[in-house]
C-alpha cells in the first residue's frame, strides 16, 4: 500500500510538472518594481530593467540578483531602454504615464524625457526634454537607434515619433493621423538596416513602416492577424521581427519577403508558456528573453502585488 501510494504520488507530481512546464526564467526579487523595459549588456553579462513604480533602473545578473543602478524619484517612471554599445551608454525613456508612486499633477501624462546613463560610472550624462515639441499628452515609451547614432522615440499619447540626433537635439521625426487616438497608441519601435522604422500601435493592434529618408512615407504593414496590446519589438539577426503582445501574453515572430509591405507570423509562443504581461524582448547570447512586467496586476485592484519578476526564455513553435 505504501509503495503504491508512492508511485501514485510520483505519477501525480510528474503529470503536474509536465502540465505546468514553461520555458526557463531568470527570477529576481525586487518588491513592487514593475519593470517595463529591458536591455542586455553582453560585456558585463547583465540585464538592465526599468520601473513604472519608481523610475529606478537596476541590473539583473544571470543568477537573478537585482541591484539598483540609477535611482532618482524625479524620473517618476522609466520605460523602454536601449544600450549604445559603441559609447557605453544606456538610454532610457522617462515619463509619468500611469503607475508611478511619485506621480504628480505637474508631470502626469505631461513629462517626456530621454536620459542616457554612463554604463561604467552609473552617472546620468544626458537628459533631453521631449515635452515641448507638440502640445497634448505625452508618454515617452520606447526607442531605437540607427547606425548614425540618431535615436527615434515613440510617444504613446501623441501622434508622433521623435528624433534625437547624435548631438542631442530633439525634433519631431514623423507625425500621422494614423497615430491618433485615446490612451496608449504607438509603443515598440525597431530600426531596420534597409533604412526604415517598424513601429507598433497598441490600440490599433497594427504595425507601421516609416521611411528613414522620407518620414512622410508611412504605411501600415499588411498582416492577417491583429495585435491589440502590441508592445516591445526587436529585429533579430535574420531580420525577423519579434513582437511582444502584452495583453494576451504572446510573443510572435514575423517575417516579410517584400520589404515589410506584407508580413506573416511564422512562429509564436504558446499560451502554456505562461508569460505574465510580457512587455519587452532582448537578445542575450543568441537567445531571446522577454520581460514579464505583470502590469496587469496594477490595472486590477483585486490582484495581489508582486515581489518577484522574471526574464523568460522565448521558445518559438511554428504556426503552420
Amino acid at each position: 500500500m505504501k509503495f503504491l501510494s508512492k508511485i501514485i504520488t510520483a505519477a501525480i507530481v510528474f503529470l503536474t510538472v509536465a502540465a505546468v512546464a514553461q520555458t526557463p526564467r531568470i527570477t529576481f526579487k525586487a518588491p513592487f518594481l514593475y519593470p517595463e523595459g529591458t536591455a542586455f549588456n553582453a560585456q558585463k553579462n547583465l540585464f538592465y530593467v526599468s520601473s513604472v513604480k519608481t523610475g529606478t533602473i537596476g541590473t539583473v545578473d544571470q543568477s537573478g540578483n537585482y541591484k539598483v543602478f540609477y535611482q532618482d524619484q524625479s524620473l517618476k517612471s522609466s520605460y523602454g531602454m536601449k544600450i549604445d554599445t559603441k559609447n557605453n551608454r544606456l538610454w532610457v525613456c522617462i515619463s509619468d504615464a500611469n503607475y508611478s508612486d511619485f506621480s504628480d499633477p505637474s508631470t502626469f501624462k505631461k513629462m517626456a524625457r530621454v536620459i542616457s546613463l554612463d554604463l561604467n560610472s552609473g552617472k546620468k550624462v544626458q537628459d533631453i526634454d521631449l515635452s515641448n515639441l507638440i502640445p497634448g499628452k505625452h508618454f515617452a515609451n520606447d526607442l531605437a537607434y540607427d547606425p548614425q547614432g540618431n535615436i527615434y522615440l515613440t510617444d504613446s499619447f501623441s501622434p508622433v515619433i521623435y528624433k534625437v540626433d547624435a548631438k542631442g537635439k530633439a525634433s519631431i521625426f514623423a507625425e500621422s493621423e494614423l497615430f491618433k487616438g485615446e490612451d496608449v497608441g504607438l509603443n515598440g519601435i525597431a530600426f531596420h538596416p534597409q533604412g526604415f522604422l517598424l513601429v507598433d500601435d497598441t490600440r490599433a493592434g497594427a504595425l507601421y513602416k516609416i521611411d528613414i529618408r522620407d518620414p512622410k512615407k508611412i504605411t501600415k504593414v499588411k498582416i492577417n492577424e491583429f495585435f491589440p496590446g502590441a508592445d516591445g519589438l526587436l529585429l533579430d539577426d535574420q531580420q525577423n521581427l519579434i513582437l511582444v503582445q502584452n495583453q494576451t501574453d504572446n510573443i510572435f515572430k514575423l517575417s516579410s519577403t517584400d520589404g515589410w509591405q506584407n508580413a506573416q507570423v511564422t512562429a509564436a509562443t504558446s499560451v502554456t508558456d505562461r508569460f505574465a504581461y510580457p512587455s519587452a524582448v532582448v537578445q542575450s547570447a543568441g537567445k531571446l528573453y522577454v520581460l514579464n512586467a505583470k502590469l496587469n496586476e496594477l490595472a486590477d485592484p483585486t490582484k495581489p502585488k508582486s515581489i518577484e519578476f522574471s526574464l523568460q526564455l522565448v521558445e518559438f513553435k511554428p504556426v503552420k
Binding site: A204, N224, P228, G229
Partner: protein, 400 residues
C-alpha cells in the same frame, strides 16, 4: 447589583438578534441525505492555427471562415449597419471596433474605442447610442459616423457586485425597454442583493429599474421570439451535484416569473441539498416556479442565445429558430458543449435541437481549440461567433 442595572437590555437583545438574522434566515433543514460523485475535467488548451477552421463542421449549405485572430478574450459583439463590429473584452476592460475595409470577409482594421472600463461585458446598439454594462455599471455613448464614441455617460453604477457570475448582457425589447441579465454571485446561496439571479428591466435613460424575473442562476444571452415576441433564454445550473444534474435550461421568461434557483431546477425539480424556504417546503415552492421548457446536458454552460429571424441567406425553415452557444463544461467527467446548436421552434415552441457549429472539442485526446461565447450577425448574412479560448472570431454564412 450590576446585573440588575443591565438586565433590561437582555430583553432587547433577542429582538435585535432576530431582526438582524431574518434576511439570511433559512427555513427548516433539508430532510434527505445526499451524496454525489463530482469531478472536474478541463479539456486541455490547444493554440490556434489557421487550418483548424477545417475541423469545424457546419450544416450543409453553410460555410465557415476566420474573420479575425489575435484578439485575446473577445466576448460580446454588436454589429453596425455598415458591417463594422464592436467587441467587448472583459479581462482587458476595453471595447474594440473591427472593420473589413477591403470587403474580403476578414476584418482588417482595428480601433480601440473605449479603454479602462474594467469588467465590461454586455453591449447593444440602440437609437444611435452604444450601451455597455459591467458588473455594476450601465454606460452609454453616442456613436459617431466613423464608429468612434463621444459623450460617454454613466446611467447607473449600483448593480450587484460581480461575484461568481459577472456577465451582464443587454438587449432592447419590442417595447423599447432595456433588459439586463444579472447572474447570481455564488453557486447555490441565498442572495442578499435582490437583483442577483434576475432579469432586470430599465428605461433607455437608465431610470425605473425593476426586477422582471427571478431565480435565474446565470442567464446571459436572451432574445425575443420573432413571431410570438416572447422572451426566451438559457440558464446555467448549479455545480457540484454530479455529472448529470441539474440540466441546463431553456426558459420562456415572463414578467414576475420565478425560475427556482437555488431551491428548484429543471422542470420544477427540488434541489434536495437546500434548506426549505421560510414558512413552507421546497416542494410547495417548486409548484409556484416556472419549469424549464427544454433541458440540456448539465454543465454545458450556455452563454449567448439569439433567434435567427431574418439573417440573410439562412433557410426558410430556420426563420423561427434560435442559436445557443455552449461555452463548454469543466465539471463533467465527459465534456459537453464547446459548440453552437440550433433549437427548432414551431408555432413559437421549441421542439428539437441540432448541432450547428461543432469541432472545437476533440474527445479522443480531450483537447479544445475554442469555446464559443457570443453571436452577432450583419445585414449581409454573416453570422459571427466569438471564441475567448484563442481570441478568434468566426464567420458563418449561407453558401449556394
Amino acid at each position: 447589583m450590576q446585573f440588575k442595572k443591565y438586565s433590561c437590555y437582555l430583553a432587547v437583545l433577542p429582538l435585535v438578534f432576530a431582526t438582524i438574522h431574518t434576511k439570511a434566515q433559512k427555513g427548516l433543514p433539508a430532510k434527505e441525505k445526499f451524496t454525489a460523485t463530482v469531478g472536474t475535467n478541463y479539456p486541455a488548451h490547444v493554440d490556434f492555427k489557421e487550418n483548424m477552421v477545417n475541423n469545424i463542421k457546419v450544416p450543409a449549405g453553410f460555410k465557415v471562415a476566420v474573420a479575425a485572430t489575435g484578439l485575446g478574450k473577445p466576448r460580446i459583439m454588436a454589429v453596425r449597419e455598415d458591417g463594422s463590429m464592436y467587441v467587448t473584452r472583459r479581462d482587458v476592460g476595453d471595447v474594440l471596433l473591427l472593420s473589413d475595409k477591403n470587403g474580403d470577409g476578414r476584418f482588417d482594421d482595428l480601433k480601440t474605442v473605449w479603454t479602462k472600463f474594467p469588467d465590461v461585458h454586455g453591449i447593444t446598439i440602440h437609437d444611435g447610442f452604444l450601451y455597455l454594462a459591467s458588473s455594476k455599471e450601465l454606460k452609454r455613448a453616442k456613436i459617431q459616423p466613423d464608429g468612434m464614441l463621444q459623450d460617454t455617460t454613466t446611467l447607473f453604477k449600483d448593480m450587484p457586485d460581480g461575484g461568481q457570475h459577472d456577465n451582464r448582457m443587454l438587449g432592447f425589447g419590442p417595447d423599447g425597454m432595456l433588459y439586463i441579465t444579472v447572474g447570481s454571485d455564488c453557486n447555490d446561496c441565498a442572495e442578499t442583493n435582490p437583483e442577483n439571479a434576475t432579469l432586470l428591466q430599465v428605461k433607455p435613460d437608465g431610470s425605473s429599474r425593476r426586477i422582471f424575473a427571478r431565480g435565474l442562476r446565470n442567464t446571459i444571452g436572451f432574445d425575443w421570439q420573432p413571431v410570438t415576441k416572447e422572451i426566451w433564454a438559457c440558464d446555467m445550473g448549479t455545480d457540484w451535484r454530479g455529472d448529470e444534474i441539474p440540466p441546463e435550461e431553456l426558459n420562456r421568461i415572463v414578467d414576475g416569473g420565478h425560475y427556482g434557483w437555488p431551491q428548484v431546477y429543471g422542470k420544477q425539480q427540488v434541489d434536495v441539498t437546500r434548506e426549505d424556504p421560510l414558512g413552507t417546503t421546497k416542494e410547495a415552492f417548486a409548484k409556484t416556479t416556472i419549469p424549464a421548457v427544454m433541458t440540456f446536458p448539465a454543465h454545458s454552460a450556455p452563454i449567448d442565445f439569439k433567434f435567427i429571424g431574418n439573417i440573410k441567406g439562412f433557410p426558410q425553415e430556420y426563420k423561427e429558430d434560435a442559436l445557443v452557444t455552449w461555452h463548454g463544461s469543466w465539471n463533467r467527467s465527459k465534456p459537453e458543449g464547446y459548440k453552437v446548436q440550433r433549437i427548432h421552434f414551431v408555432n413559437g415552441k421549441p421542439i428539437s435541437v441540432d448541432d450547428f457549429f461543432t469541432g472545437f472539442l476533440n474527445n479522443s485526446n480531450n483537447t479544445r481549440f475554442g469555446r464559443p461565447v457570443a453571436l452577432a450577425y450583419s445585414n449581409k448574412g454573416d453570422l459571427y461567433i466569438s471564441d475567448d479560448e484563442n481570441g478568434v472570431i468566426y464567420r458563418v454564412y449561407a453558401s449556394r
